[in-house]
Amino acid sequence: MIEEYRGFDIKSLQRPTPAPPKKTPLIRIRGLTKRFGSVEANKDVSLDIHPGRILALLGENGAGKSTLMSMLAGRLVPDEGFIEADGGKVRLESPAQAIALGVGMVYQHFTLVEAMTVAENVLLGQTDSFFVSPPHMKRRVAELATRFGLDIDPGARVADLSMGEKQRVEILKLLHRQSRVLILDEPTTVLTPAETRRLFDALWSMAAQGKAIVFISHKLEEVMAASDDVAILRKGRITAVMEKNDIRSKSDLARSMVGRDVILSVNKPPVELGEEVLGIDDLSGHGLKNVSLSVRRGEILALTGVAGNGQKALVEMVCGLETPPRRKLFILGERWRRFYARAPWKNALSYVPEDRKGLATAPNLDLVDNVLLTTRQGFVKGPWLMRSKAADATDGLILDYNVSPPRATALAKQLSGGNLQKLVLGRELYRGPRLIVAEQPTQGLDVSATEEVWTQLLKSREDAGVLLVTGDVNEALNLADRIAVIYRGEIMGVLDANDPSQVARIGPLMAGLAGTEE
């Protein structure tokens, strides 16, 4: 694995003040079990949370980290076990009860009111007087922000903030409620390396002021850098709890997290390059600046960067959801306008979007209807739709792509994320595309589903060119032939994925630095 891709050496970061020794825990979790139907998301989990210390909760996607913390935050009620705080058992059946106890959580999906100001968001549900005064609110929030080193303009509208700033608002909300335990769910996925560093500074500042921090992550380097204690969760159970200073090597950590030595590495045989299937020539607008890219048949071009740097606009234009400026975009050698005037369903462009539920599939329709979404032109005779033929094709896809439950009459909403993604991928490959746009194709999938998706994408480049849009550098390195890094709507560079010296530049480029160390 390549470690250096982050913009600065994350291992060099260190908590400025030493963590206080473990004394009486603030929260004791004892024997928590949570089931969803027949699935055990958490099994007999016990854990202590200490004031002034940062606990990293490490585990793969689907290991049960979020479920565990949701129980602590009052969002889910455990089926068995209990939670103790201040030496007594507590019942946490609503977020309000958890908040009252001083437990707060920052979720991956922020729960902010976009149309309101930072100050209004922080003080929502918190103001004690009947009347509210905006200047007074702003002052209070500014004071709080300064105290914990969270730089933010209290009068700004949340809708105008960057992801990093929104995260600070979420943290401020908890701090204003005098939360003693702050839980952060995968906080760094939306941050640039520089923002990550600022977040760590803030976490240390909060810990130094006595807060207990729980930090959910699946990234080893971050856990090693930021935390004092590490708890590892695998398949719903705690497999290890250790102090950071006792950890000998990162591979130890990796082993107890995944339960096997190899993480994921895929075989990437070279394929001969064909004609250009996507050409972008000096495209600006919709937040993009002078973007030029080219994808040829036989290669995977990864477009990587922190979420929100213009990827969405680019994908929407390429996939025909937004109209680009004239003569800037060429698909399969045709001008965008000409291509989308007919947009053949077969042997053309396939799009595997990030939003699997609600964009790529219709949750309330069955699998046949969902397959028909993009393939219906292949099953029509005049005005008639040949649904039985489509049903046969769906059965074939279910078999080929190992979709479960294996029933074409199942509704899309009954499928898990991984199975839904396999169905979408199968459907899109069924169209025999020459250009594939895959957006965060493995986000939220477990290891085995990720492996299947990766294999399919690699195989598909024998007949097609792939534009892989991903924020996961690891995915880009594993799959791509070339990697384009996007920052604030600009392509910072296109790198050869097989050249280690170039790969090292990804981190700085993602942070907008032209190849130099920060």
Binding site: R35, F36, G37, L76, V77, D79, G320, L321, A343, Y351, P353, D355, G358, L359, A360, T361, A362, P363, N364, L365, D369, L372, L373, T374, R376, V380, P383, W384, L385, R387
Partner: protein
């Protein structure tokens, strides 16, 4: 006893029927209580309602005849509602249809019926469709909320109809009554030979089958269904969302227009203001309680038409205002809508164990 709400994993199959029965009983109970409140005997009311609705062959025929326009309007609305397009304008589209049919009937009074009736149908369908297309265009081009535009066009249509029967189309021999001249016999839909049932009922069967086949077996029908899942999916699948919105509003307008044709031709034989009896609004209730499916729409149309006939009987028998029917319709819709909650959720005593599901939001935006 403290209760809490738990999501049902699989709604039991009988729940829809149980909700319908409970809602009807509750609505009837409240309505009868209101009768008592104005000093009428609720028992007498119940008997009169039953006799009026189902007590005689005459009543059942009457209900079937009244069900025809409701059914036609409702079919069209169901197509629009499937796409989450809220056409509240069946009433106005019905009025335009009636005017279209009248126009043809008054323009070509001497045409033979095999020419005139199809002509009236086409006129009615086209005018109804045009009346539906207006809010469609406003929605597609300007993003104007169709709930309000379709509703406002109902008022406009009714005033337009009034204008026609008070003005240009007024029967000179009507002694000042606002009615058009009576249609010639060739403009009247013939009877079927079964009681008082007329060809309009046959037309309903035909329209129902047509629509069912259309939704099930055509590409356009599939696209309408898929688009009902949201504009985002529609855009992803490259479906012409705007064109489909325009299509459903136009099509539902055409259906309502045909309903207007059936009403003026078969029921009244001339255009007059009293044909605006709120069928277009009743059709909304029918579409909703039938959950937008053709066969239940037929049943619900008959049920609500029977209710109307029954209320007419109460009205005559007990001197109760006609609005009694509106109250019952409003209550039925409200109780069924509320009752559907219990399909998705059940109440359990607090503390009882149950597998909960993560909270979710439910989209009902217009």
């Amino acid at each position: 006893m403290a209760l809490r709400v738990v999501k049902r994993r699989n709604p039991p199959a009988w729940s829809a029927a149980a909700i319908l029965v409970c809602a009807l009983v509750l609505s009837l109970g409240v309505s009868l209580a209101l009768l008592a409140a104005i000093g009428k005997s609720p028992v007498h009311g119940l008997v009169a309602l039953w006799n009026g609705s189902f007590g005689s062959l005459w009543a059942i025929e009457d209900a079937l005849i009244k069900a025809a326009p409701i059914f036609l309007c409702s079919l069209g609305l169901a197509v629009a509602f499937r796409m989450q397009v809220w056409n509240i304008g069946a009433e106005g589209q019905f009025a335009l249809g009636a005017m279209g049919a009248t126009w043809a009937a008054l323009t070509f009074p001497h045409a033979p019926s095999w020419v005139l009736l199809p002509l009236m149908l086409v006129y009615a369908g086209l005018l109804g469709a045009a009346w539906g297309a207006i809010p469609g265009l406003l929605k597609v081009k300007l993003k104007a909320n169709e709930i309000i535009t379709t509703l406002m066009l109902n008022y406009v249509a009714i005033f337009l109809l009034e204008y026609m029967v008070y003005g240009p189309w007024k029967d000179p021999a009507s002694f000042g009554f606002p009615v058009t001249p009576e249609f010639t016999p060739s403009a009247v839909i013939p009877l079927l030979g079964v009681g008082r049932l007329h060809g309009g009922v046959l037309l309903c069967v035909f329209a129902g089958v047509l629509l069912w086949a259309f939704l099930r077996y055509t590409r356009l029908g599939y696209e309408l269904k898929a688009c009902g899942e949201g504009a985002k999916v529609a855009a992803y699948a490259r479906m012409p969302y705007n064109r489909l919105v325009l299509f459903v509003l136009t099509a539902s307008g055409a259906f309502a227009g045909v309903a207007g044709f059936v009403e003026v031709s078969a029921s009244t034989g001339r255009l007059m203001t009293s044909i605006m009896a709120g069928y277009g609004y009743t059709a909304i209730i029918v579409a909703w309680i039938a959950r937008l499916r053709p066969v239940p729409i037929a049943l619900a149309s008959f049920l609500l038409a029977a209710l109307r006939v029954g209320v007419e009987n109460i009205q005559l028998d007990m001197e109760v205002p006609a609005a009694f029917g509106d109250i019952m319709e409003g209550l039925i819709l409200l109780t069924i809508l509320s009752g559907q909650f219990f399909e998705q959720y059940k109440l359990v005593r607090k503390g009882a164990k149950n597998a909960p599901a993560p909270s979710a939001s439910q989209e009902t935006a217009p």
